[in-house]
Symmetry: C2
Subunit: 226 residues, 2 copies
DNA sequence: CCGACTTTGTGAATGCGTTCACGAACGCGT
DNA sequence: ACGCGTTCGTGAACGCATTCACAAAGTCGG
């Protein structure tokens, strides 16, 4: 009860529905485009079009951050960028360690989107002795044995796994042990993490198979004549 | 009415909830692992553990494909693989065209997971004259001008976009015009597609920003002491 | 052949997310 | 100053997905 007074400003962060959180980055991108195009304000309808959703969703999502719109006008673009960035924690720079500097790892290491979104690659790590020491995207590949050190000294809180599936759980455990509390997994395997560690995954094979399902469905129902 | 009799076998395909479809590939992967480990049958509980979900979800999902389990025993692994593959349309080989053979495109082109899951890369396409003609992963990079031909002669129904965001909508339109009906987009931008074209996206920046949100949330609530 | 045990398949309950719909609030033109 | 048109913010309705919980259906040892 007594602590409620001190919470109100930041308490909003805590109960933003996951589905809304996932759309905030998309709004942010859309807003950048609108700002570049010279828009000072934008209506929920305008932002909705730019973000590929409907306007009710935009308003509901933004309402979780606070009341920053002006009725009859819309939202001020700059202000909204600021509030969304705040909610997503993008006002600080997060450090990332990338484990597995193979085929995909090279592409990720060289990806400009990391830096431009405020994420710093604090280290590249691989288990292959032949890869350790190689310079990739301005960084030297370190040994997996040095993972804990890279995490600690680099202030790393996010780990990206781009190793083969067979190594992913081991790497995941090592990341968690080193103190990483958020993990993005590109390996096609289900990972176990303890409570308190956030896990997200990107799985190309799954995406393709979902597309396959829809192609198949179209061809089956289409063949009948409807 | 007369055609209903002919429908019953395949009609199941049509009303599988999207959320279930998205899990079927994960079950498939889990079942491969179980088969390799020598399991002949598996219970919903066992499959649930392997797939990282709960058993009720597994049973509900599988029930959409038909009644292939045996009460008191579980599901026969091989049979289940067969039925899921059928439902996902993986009994046929789908051809894919990859547009944008840059940093990420190279990694995707060389990705073994394409072929091993039954997807054939029918062509690599790029707009940069310097890239056209280059050999990547056993294929020669073709010009974007030849896209329609690659799609038609290759029997391509799935397109993968790995170009910069600015070119993605144009490429998307070209793919659709060429006859592609499913698209997987890696560029960080919202794409418009006509009805009947399936669109999915993979967005690294969005994933990282979602993780950022959770890191931020942890650090804010953690600082208070609870 | 039977009874105890296991596990499926599925209605019912619950929860979450989306969409609708409208009152309240604001800017602007007159 | 005031009314008009626009747009936000949000309760309520709706729909989809998840989870619960259990009867039905099978196995298997004796
Ligand atoms: N290449 C793609 O386009 C692509 C697409 C989607 C998913 N993936 C997945 O991403 C992962 C990496 O793919 P890739 O094509 O880069 O494979 P890769 O074999 O080229 O690279 C894997 C790298 O991980 C390293 N590694 C292996 N075990 C390790 C360990 N225990 N600790 C640290 N590093 C270790 C290897 O030395 C290698 O450098 C795979 O799981 C793959 O399925 C790849
Ligand atoms: N590299 C990564 O790890 C990574 C990760 C996530 C997302 N992405 C996204 O994937 C896309 C590609 O990234 P990248 O790092 O490979 O960039 P890149 O610049 O290395 O490659 C882009 C390629 O697309 C080609 N291209 C440009 N316009 C084209 C057109 N109209 N038609 C055909 N080809 C065209 C270019 O010639 C180039 O070869 C970007 O949108 C990027 O944001 C990349």
């Amino acid at each position: 009860m007594s602590e409620q007074g001190g919470f109100t400003a930041s308490a909003r962060h805590r109960d933003i529905p996951e589905a809304s959180v996932a759309r905030l980055p998309v709004y942010l991108r859309a807003l950048s485009g609108l700002a570049d195009a010279g828009h000072v304000t934008v209506s929920s309808e305008g932002l909705a079009t730019a973000a590929g959703v409907n306007s009710a969703k935009v308003r509901k999502d933004l309402s979780h951050l606070g009341s920053y719109g002006t009725r009859g006008v819309g939202y001020e673009v700059d202000e909204l960028v600021h509030h969304i960035s705040n909610a997503l924690g993008l006002t600080q720079r997060w450090s990332v360690v990338l484990v597995g500097v193979g085929n995909l790892g090279h592409a990720l290491a060289g990806y400009a989107g990391f830096a431009s979104r405020g994420f710093r690659i604090a280290g590249l790590v691989d288990a292959d002795p032949a890869r350790v020491g190689e310079r990739v995207a301005g960084l030297t590949v370190r040994s997996i044995d040095e993972l804990a050190e890279v995490v600690t000294t680099g202030g790393v809180s996010i780990g990206v796994i781009a190793t083969p599936a067979g190594a992913a759980q081991v790497v995941c455990d090592q990341l968690v042990a080193a103190g990483v509390t958020s993990i993005l997994n590109f390996a096609p395997t289900v990972l176990q993490v303890p409570d308190g560690v956030e896990l997200r995954k990107v799985d190309l094979a799954v995406e393709l198979q979902i597309l396959s399902f829809h192609e198949h469905r179209k061809s089956v129902s289409g063949a009948v004549g409807a």
